[in-house]
Symmetry: C2
Subunit: 322 residues, 2 copies
């Protein structure tokens, strides 16, 4: 279904977007990547460019450049809207930023789709919309959650707006609620921080919290196969999918794995405190997407290994502000 | 607890706001009413002004006038944020308006509260956040809904932002999800339309839909007592309350009631079609607020009667664009 179709990917030069772009190109789609390179990197698309030059268009600009966005979206059958403020941690300092960037960007994308008659949108939401600690695997139709982060709240607001567009104007929406993703080109988050710290000081590392916090994650390539599966098979006006693994690691485990992959043996100290809005133990029940035949193929340990290897091979990424 | 406290009510000159202002003044609070009179009417507060002049302050302006808003909010212990685009029906023509006004206004109010250190907010949400047809009484922690109107989506987005503020900055939030309210000063909605049509032509009335659609509603005075009860007794960081009646009417019934109260006997025809985003049969389970001792005292029939009587006594209201 995606073969031969024109797809626009906002944020397509980012960590997640570049993997999705590759997956779409592999599936035979023509892909337009729209990115302002604020956190994305055009070089993330170099391999895709070499392999699929004729099917890959690059649009360099902000979503607020409506003329450029209209040009990029013309004749597209599907928009995958990934561009967002992906760093959940700074809501306390900038309570307006997540809404401005995540909801504001989504508003622009939907308005433009409506104007051009583009009828299908896939959206990168987050397990953060489920709010705080649950202690069990959360399904897509779990009880109405209370938001505990500006990031999660902005993603929920964007989901709500997308759903209203879809039900009002006969569009079709695919909302993917991801656990955190790992893999090549990963460029912020706790493993990024661990690698950076251990390069600076291989003998000692300070860790937020107490080391026992569990973290669920999924390999980005597996997650992008889930997106393609969901978009191809979801037949409701609004299709919601959790995307996550059943397995997880503790912070202590992942520090050990990272250290092992880097060949170092640091001492560890703990701050005891986590950052406000952190949602550890975000265990999503992905039975719905499993029911469509999706199975993750890369283990959590292997996903961490690929992440660390990529960062060590690409020190320029670590040199950036995370 | 509210006695002697300063409370700011945004949208306090509106249908709902003027009733809340009276209820707060009756409880001994000092009330600042902030309103831009776009749909509110300062004359709605005339009785309150006569009775409680010294405890009632009027602030005439838009929420975007941050200097005025800061002055109005200074030393307040509670903000009740009611100002909103209250007309759910025009989302199709203006998909951005609900978010701009409802979420945008909420953002300004929260930012100002955070700046001034005001720690408590009550918010007029809506049963519309539960999305489409359910067929049973919906409780506050029902399964995660899919939005089917821009109005409901904007209220959900505002709830999410308020919750993120409350959990991040140690504020306390009270989110009231109302069924539609009726009573004196009601100034838009289907009964408003029926009265207007029957004044123009007492012999015939055209009705949207098929007449069998059930509508739940609550008398505004009862609803405002619920708000005071919830604010006084809710002790969580984020307190969510459904506010509604167990009883309802069909459109056929209410047309008959309105006609009876107006002393007319019209023929009725049906369009068969409803407007997009209409959520009929929005039956909220209000067990949580009942558990705090709230019981509505005015029947649905009496609420309709008071609504119609007020409109007939105040033809200037009907002459406005609804």
């Amino acid at each position: 279904m995606l073969a031969g179709q024109r797809v626009l990917v906002t944020g397509g030069a980012g960590f997640v977007g570049s993997h999705l772009t590759e997956a779409l190109l592999d599936a035979g789609a023509q892909v337009g990547v729209y990115d302002n390179a604020s956190t994305g990197q055009w070089q993330f698309l170099r391999d895709a460019q070499d392999k699929y030059a004729g099917n890959l268009l690059q649009w360099r600009g902000h979503l607020s450049d409506t003329e450029l966005l209209c040009a990029a979206m013309a004749d597209c059958g599907l928009v995958v809207h990934l561009s967002a403020n992906a760093d959940i941690r700074h809501g306390v300092e900038y309570p307006d930023r997540d809404f401005e960037q995540n909801l504001g960007g989504t508003q622009i994308v939907l308005r433009t789709m409506h104007q051009l008659g583009v009828k299908r949108i896939a959206f990168a939401s987050s397990g953060a919309v489920y709010g705080g600690h649950h202690g069990f695997a959360i399904s897509e139709d779990c009880p109405f959650p209370i938001q505990n982060s500006f990031y999660g709240a902005s993603k929920l607001a964007a989901e709500a707006l997308i759903s209203a567009y879809a039900t009002t104007f006969g569009m079709q929406a695919y909302l993917f609620r991801f656990v955190p993703m790992l893999g090549e080109r990963y460029s912020h988050g706790h493993i990024f921080d661990f690698v950076k710290k251990l390069l600076a000081n291989p003998d000692h590392i300070e860790v937020l919290g107490n080391g026992q916090v569990r973290k669920y994650c999924v390999y980005v390539g597996d997650a992008m196969r889930a997106v393609l599966k969901g978009v191809e098979m979801g037949d409701r006006p609004v299709n919601v999918f959790n995307i996550g693994n059943r397995s997880c690691y503790t912070i202590d485990e992942v520090v050990e794995w990272v250290a092992h992959d880097m060949g170092v043996t640091p001492g560890i100290s703990y701050t005891g405190e986590r950052w406000v809005g952190d949602n550890p133990d975000m265990n999503l029940d992905a039975a719905r997407i499993h029911g469509l035949g999706w199975v993750p193929q890369v283990s959590v340990r292997e996903a961490v290994h690929r992440t660390v290897s990529y960062l060590l091979d690409n020190p320029w990424l670590l040199a950036r502000d995370s």
